[in-house]
């Protein structure tokens, strides 16, 4: 008889890849803690099948549409995304047989384009200098003029925060009795709203903190302030703090995660980690949880892991690149 495996496989727990989304590791990062009384934990969303937190959102968006009968077999899906949501949707749509078109800024890293193409998505580019605003506007315009598209619209779809309310937050509460502060990136608002609501229901003293990108001058290509955009799912009253992080600080902390904790995270996660440590500094004791949205593979070509900060500053990467 063959000897038993030391490391057992999951024993058929997941029927397919989509079923393996979620239940990501929560890992303590002891070296980041500024004081013994404060423990810092990272929720490693990079462990999802396509490598980002957006697997949860994409699954929720598609299953919500299926439940409502909004997408018959073969329905074309259209979504504005600068990367991760598109990659997650592409995998799920490929598995489920829905053609996918994504609209994204033309200045995202090459890896994101390659991944989307690999999963069979069609890509429509929007002007990079308009950032995600440009992608949202173009996708909505395409949907207006062509009724054959179904737009899940992560920015306004309650299924996005619900993926976290019914998933991520419950997983955190399974492992920690008390969450003093929860820190996540502010993009669509889904992670912060869904986790924030659930964690505050559990303990209304939990501090919900948003880390947001300080948009570089080159992605501030708005014609007027009236072209601004606030994702409809965001409710600012749920946030206790909202703090911006420069690309420079985000990269510095991405490098620190790698050097001090061996964590190969994406650049937005470095930004979020910097705010988690700042919040931890203000606490005498407690648990601080932050979200690692994705790992670093998709950003390798930007040079942030191999070049020094001075080199990245000199070659314009810190000013130009869009990491969020």
């Amino acid at each position: 008889m063959a000897p038993g495996l030391d490391s057992r496989p999951c024993g058929g727990r997941y029927g397919d890849l989509v079923g393996a989304i979620g239940n990501t590791p929560l890992v303590e990062l002891k070296r980041l803690s500024p004081t013994p009384g404060v423990r810092i934990f990272a929720k490693l969303e990079s462990y999802n099948p396509t490598g980002s937190v957006k697997d949860r959102v994409a699954r929720a968006l598609i299953e919500d549409a299926e439940d409502k009968g909004a997408i018959p077999p073969g329905q074309t899906i259209l979504e504005p995304t600068s990367g991760n949501t598109g990659i997650s949707l592409a995998m799920i749509c490929q598995r489920k047989g829905y053609p996918l078109t994504v609209v994204m800024p033309d200045n995202v890293t090459a890896e994101r384009t390659q991944l989307l193409t690999m999963y069979g998505a069609e890509i429509v580019y929007s002007p990079g200098e308009q950032g995600s605003n440009g992608a949202v506007a173009k996708a909505l315009e395409m949907a207006d003029t062509d009724a054959s598209y179904y737009v899940p619209y992560q920015y306004g779809n309650p299924a996005n925060p619900l993926a976290h309310y019914n998933g991520t937050a419950l997983e955190i509460l399974e492992e920690l009795d008390e969450v003093t502060a929860f820190v996540a990136g502010l993009g669509t608002g889904g992670t912060l709203m869904g986790n924030g609501r659930r964690l505050k229901e559990h303990d209304d003293g939990t501090m919900i903190v948003a880390a947001e990108p300080l948009q570089g001058e080159l992605v501030q290509g708005l014609r007027s302030l009236d072209d601004g955009f606030i994702p409809p799912i965001i409710d600012l009253s749920l946030l206790d703090r909202k703090i911006f992080v420069s690309n420079r600080d985000a990269v510095v902390w991405t490098k620190r995660l790698l050097a001090e904790e061996g964590l190969f995270a994406g650049v937005s996660s470095g930004a979020i980690a910097s705010i988690a440590v700042r919040v931890a500094n203000d606490l005498g004791e407690g648990n601080v949880v932050f979200v690692v949205c994705d790992d670093g593979w998709k950003y390798l070509s930007s040079g942030v892991y191999t070049k020094s900060i001075d080199e990245l500053e000199a070659d314009g990467t810190l000013e130009r690149a869009s990491f969020w």
């Binding site: 980002s52 600068s82 993009g187 601004g228 703090r241 909202k242 969020w324």
Partner: protein
């Protein structure tokens, strides 16, 4: 005096200035001082009811004042206010 960092979209209204110094003990007072110096900014910063324009984010150093005390948030002379347009984030 506090420093106010002006985003590219507002610079046509500040004669191209990237940073403007302004007096005031609160965010609202400092922004009103900016609007007095550069009247073209007023309609962009403030709604008709005097509240902050929906698509204008103002940060005291690096924290969004909407999550602090809004226009009432106290400002010290050494503080920097950063004005940024609300942009879509996320991926």
């Amino acid at each position: 005096m506090s420093a106010i960092k002006i985003p590219p979209v507002l610079r046509p209204s500040t004669g191209g200035e990237r940073e403007v110094a302004a007096d005031g003990g609160s965010v609202g007072e400092v922004l009103s001082s900016l609007a007095e110096q550069h009247p073209g900014t007023k309609a962009q910063l403030f709604a008709d009811d005097g509240a902050l324009n929906r698509y204008v984010n103002v940060y005291l150093n690096d924290e969004d004042v909407r999550v602090l005390d809004g226009l009432e948030t106290p400002v010290a002379d050494t503080d920097t206010l950063v004005i940024l347009p609300a942009m879509a984030g996320g991926r």
